[in-house]
């Protein structure tokens, strides 16, 4: 489950750049130490899979699926997380 990073060759993008339904793997969590720690405890750690469930209109908050639950973040927080989109081929093997 951790280390799916090898399964994808996509470039690193911000979590806020995902489109609805897209799955990705987290490569890094940025921001100051207290924010980073909070994101980790919400389930956003390197190697974890994350997907964008939906996005509110007019650049509102975004709902992500991570660690088997749905968590809503504002764009500013989502921008701090770097991800690689999962290749379609890797989709089949990811749990």
């Amino acid at each position: 489950m951790a280390s799916n990073a090898e399964l994808t060759s996509q470039p690193v993008v911000a979590l806020s750049g995902l489109r609805s339904g897209e799955r990705a793997v987290i490569t890094e969590v940025g921001g100051d130490p207290s924010i980073r720690h909070r994101m980790h405890l919400l389930g956003f750690t390197r190697g974890r899979e994350v997907s964008l469930v939906r996005r509110a209109p007019f650049n509102g908050p975004m709902v992500f699926r991570v660690c088997d639950a749905e968590m809503c973040l504002r764009e500013a927080q989502a921008r701090l997380v770097s991800v690689r989109r999962l290749d379609l081929a890797a989709d089949q093997s990811a749990a």
Binding site: I35, L41, T45, N59, G60, V63, A69, C72, L73
Partner: protein, 652 residues
Amino acid sequence: MTAQPIASGSGGAALAERQPRIALIGSPNGGKTSIFNGLTGLHAKTGNYPGVTVSRTYGMCQIKGANYNIEDLPGCYSLTPISPDEQVVADLLGGNVRGIESPDGLLVVADSTALRRGLLLLAEVLQKQIPTAVVLTMADELRRRGGSIDQQALSRALGIPVVTVVANRGIGIGELRHLIADWRNWSVPPIDPPQDPNELAGWVDSVLDSAGYQVPVPDERTLRIDKVLLHPVYGSIIFFAVMFVFFQALFTWAAPLQDAITNLLAMLGDWVSSVVTNSILSGLIVNGVLGGVGTVLTFIPQIVLMFLLLALLDSVGYMSRAAFLMDKVMSKAGLEGRAFVAVLSSFACAIPGVMATRTIPSSKDRIATMLGVPLGTCSARLPVYLLLVGMLVPSDATLGPVSVQGIVMFLLYLLGGVSAMMAAWVVKKITDRSGNLMPFYMEMPPYRLPRPKSVLLAMWEPTKAYLRKAGTIILAASVIIWALTAIPGRSPQELEAAGVDPTDSVAVTSYTMENSIAGHIGKAIEPVFEPLGFDWRVNIALVGSLVAREVSVSTLGQLAAASDPEDNSQVAQSISQWTYTEGPHQGEKVFTAPTIVALMLFFAFALQCMSTLAVMRRETNTWKWPAIAFGYMFVLAWVAGFIGHTIMSLFS
């Protein structure tokens, strides 16, 4: 703390006598509240942690004859604080909170459908080296969604006891109570999970593997419902419909109950007046005490209804969806989506609005919202607005197809809404000077059927808190304000000497009020309100409005000796004939357009409602914030009234 099989928290004297303290820790939507309710039932209390605006929920649980102190810590995802609210939890666990000992045992309540995240918090708890046990919740949902876990294997992997509870079917509560009674045998956790987040993720995975954890599939029902409820078009429509119903409940549905209460107390009052001959005593009982009780009770239907709806919407899971849809708009005022309900409530009445701020996690946001909410055009302002608009604008004046009176009322509503949001924005700016921007995150839990017991308890507890703390303040204030307008009482000789017929109760009331303490206050504060065009009689009405804004209308009526002070048109007729009795404008009409506009604007912005102040005191546990609210809104009201008066004078 050194690792020992039995630990007693700080200050462990007389173990046998002191009640063991167990704290519940867990994420906000993980079923922790149901567990707490299941253990404490009606024996729960709320208050505040000392010195902060963070609410504290705790209660007593009796197991096999022994009493246990159960503390329901605020829902959290981490024990490492990023806000003052969370700092309190961290302090409490470290035994650093004045007057509250640290817990003897920690019960981690974990949602079994979200264990991969739940174990992260558990890892932080294990590092505290306090005896810990785990309660797994939502086990029925886990099974329904194709997941499973071996409870014993999990317990072995963690080295601490694990029980499973299905709260809505009462399964496992007995086992949990046994576990609590056995708290001395909860070992201090033998395992120290890794601190590095990546290693920690690996640790969580390996623990779940050895516990045979089967991940549940995403909840089909939730996905289907969210497709509609969070659809940009349909979702918004449904959202407005839900909010409309919510608002109607507070604005309209509560009214019959409120009327019933008022009528009942009026009948009681009539009976008391007929029995008690001393007019001062009967006045005290009927107008002061019963009037005060009436004021306290009239808010109950709105509070109960609001918390019923909030509890239903929240436990079903819709509140986070509503907050998701409103977050963008609320962020313009420096707030977040969850503040919307509080602002909406304030259009019915500020009291449920202030209490609704409990749904907002951040205490800074709560205060900012609380200080802005009283500006919302509440229903108590309506009688005053109707009276003044009726005097300002002829009822047949139209602008095209729309009546001008209607336009002015609409503008007043708009003014309330906009100024409430702006005030919250300003307060947030001021209190956020440290620039420490809190990250926004909010869980979207699966839709779940609400538990009737939890919903009822969620309604009961705030009502109890309101009655006990706010209710006493409101009652006391009612008696005092009544006294200001009715004392000193006048004997028939005094009345006749002043040319007032002692049998004409309308004239007697008018005379007594004019020469009461409030009358003296009204004359004394004339210089303050003179630039707004108010004379001393309007000032008496302002004193009366402290009880409730609509009282100012009947006070004006009583002063003007109108035969029916409850009839707007009669009151309007009487008071429009008033002329200034002294001063530079002696002889001129009081209620000119500038004065009317100034009074309207004053009522729009001033926080006269001492019931609101009482509830603010209850919710923030201090007089500081109600005082600030009263102060800033008074200044705002005065300035607005002055500007209104000045501008309208230019037109006259």
